[in-house]
């Protein structure tokens, strides 16, 4: 039985089991996991299951939700991941141990990407400002058209978000790239995304990109929430309404 464990400075506060229903997280008391702290929005995030995978989704919160130190909108979760909301941490536990509040006998959370990502204060402040400027976002509705987008989590790019409109999306320094990277030694064509009938596929360029920390071996299909790494650039692939 999977569960989410809420911790504050290493002290376990509460936990909730993950069943088939989504789990909501926020300051309001009617959340499944309610956190009484001003840095937490009333309805801050939620965790749900989609196609067999566990997904965390930020609900347009003021201060953002972070997964293993990277700010996310929506991302897949694995056993051992830690979601940070304000100063609180929510640990994803998918081991079969019995429930209990012991915080000693657990294995260390495995890092989800190949190196630990820590945003410095300047980047974090920039993201807060960006979130404040973003304004309203429409409520999620499964019936709406879902637009594939790439959100830049880290790295020097010409924009912070890109809509994938074409059959070919090039990521690189080249002037014909959609996601234009900066950097003296960045390759012209670092990676590319092809639209096929059944979805979007990430392919290599002069760099072998990673999806959720794993180097791709051939053209690989992108799922909603996937984290793409191209060199030092980090992108979140999302279907937006």
């Amino acid at each position: 039985m999977s569960r989410l464990v809420l911790k504050f400075e290493n002290a376990v506060l509460k936990e909730v089991s993950l069943g088939t229903r989504p789990v909501t997280i926020g300051r309001a008391p009617d959340n499944d996991l309610s956190i009484d702290n001003l840095a937490v929005s009333n309805y801050h995030a939620r965790v749900y299951t989609e196609a067999g995978s566990l997904v965390v989704e930020d609900l347009n919160s003021l201060n953002g939700s972070f997964l293993n130190d990277i700010r996310i909108e929506r991302a897949m979760l694995k056993d051992g991941d830690t979601i940070q909301i304000g100063k609180h941490q929510i640990w994803v536990d998918q081991t079969r141990d019995a429930a209990g509040f012991s915080n000693g006998a657990r294995k260390a959370p495995a890092p989800r990407v190949s190196e630990t990502m820590v945003l410095d204060t300047r980047q974090r402040r920039e993201m807060f400002e960006q979130a404040a400027a973003a304004g309203e976002r429409s409520q999620l509705s499964p019936d709406r058209l879902r637009v594939p987008t790439l959100t830049v989590l880290r790295g020097r790019t010409d924009k912070k978000e890109y809509r994938l409109a074409g059959k070919l999306t090039v990521i690189g320094r080249s002037p014909m790239a959609t996601v234009r990277l900066r950097g003296w030694f960045t390759p012209n064509i670092a990676a590319q995304i092809n639209k096929h009938e059944d979805g979007y596929y990430l392919g290599r360029g002069d760099v072998v990109p990673k999806i959720n920390g794993v180097e791709i071996r051939a053209l690989t299909k992108l799922d909603d929430g996937d984290l793409i790494e191209v060199g030092r650039v980090r992108l979140n692939f999302l279907y937006r309404d």
């Binding site: 070919l168 092809n194 290599r204 360029g205 051939a218």
Partner: protein
């Protein structure tokens, strides 16, 4: 299609029309486009698709107005490469393959009855290979007044090999054999020759058309960029 002689006429007319239309468009921006423009590919890719629409019209008109040519048609796969960008368009079961980092990938989806059935899921790839209806096409150039052209684009990388071929090759030579030849040939021409030889060796009765394109790395590298920078600042 439509017998050897007619197939020749249709193919030749199609190729001449496509090349002519693309060349004309390069020289004159006022060149009209044929067929619906697609919003998800570039201008050049749309131009290539437009060329195939025009070719379809021309072959169809010739077939309709010439009782001797009735039923003639052709399949087409066309590639247009500029800098590193590949524009690809096709109608029928002629194919484009890309060999990259030791892996072979078929870039085009066959417009044949069995391939469509496999895509829907009512036939397995093995059943398709054994089927007697393999050469039945769902789309061709010149058999209908209008045709739907598949168009796509890719960035090519140094070390890539691009293969364009008619079904005469893909029916007689397996994908692993194709990959092996592309990987081990000393030149593009050598690869093309070996592919045709193998198709004939394996009992190829059909015409085999093959084009192999190899992408070489450019001489320019980091050192060249540094040199340029120094010149500008000095």
């Amino acid at each position: 299609m439509g017998g050897e002689a007619h197939g020749e006429v249709a193919s030749t007319l199609a190729v001449e029309t496509i090349v002519g239309h693309c060349q004309q468009a390069e020289n004159s921006r006022a060149t009209p486009t044929f067929g619906e423009s697609k919003t998800d590919v570039s201008e050049r890719t749309n131009r290539l698709a437009s060329a195939i629409h025009l070719a379809n019209r021309k072959v169809y008109e010739m077939a309709s107005s010439n009782p001797g040519h009735r039923g003639m048609g052709a399949t087409i796969v066309a590639a247009w490469v500029e800098e590193q960008k590949l524009s690809l368009a096709h109608v029928g079961d002629s194919r484009a393959y890309l060999l990259r980092a030791g892996s072979l990938e078929q870039l085009t989806a066959d417009h044949s009855l069995v391939a469509e059935k496999v895509r829907i899921g009512i036939l397995t790839p093995q059943e398709a290979d054994a089927s007697e209806l393999q050469s039945v096409l769902t789309r061709a150039v010149g058999t209908n007044e209008n045709v739907e052209v598949d168009a796509d684009e890719q960035m090519l990388l140094a070390g890539d090999s691009l293969l364009l071929c008619s079904d005469g090759l893909s029916r007689m030579v397996t994908d692993p054999e194709i990959a092996s030849i592309l990987l081990t040939s000393i030149s593009a021409q050598n690869a093309a020759d070996r592919l045709v030889d193998l198709a004939n060796e394996n009992g190829g009765v059909d015409n085999v058309s093959v084009i192999v394109l190899r992408v070489q790395p450019k001489a320019e590298g980091v050192l060249d960029r540094l040199k340029i920078w120094k010149r500008n600042s000095g």
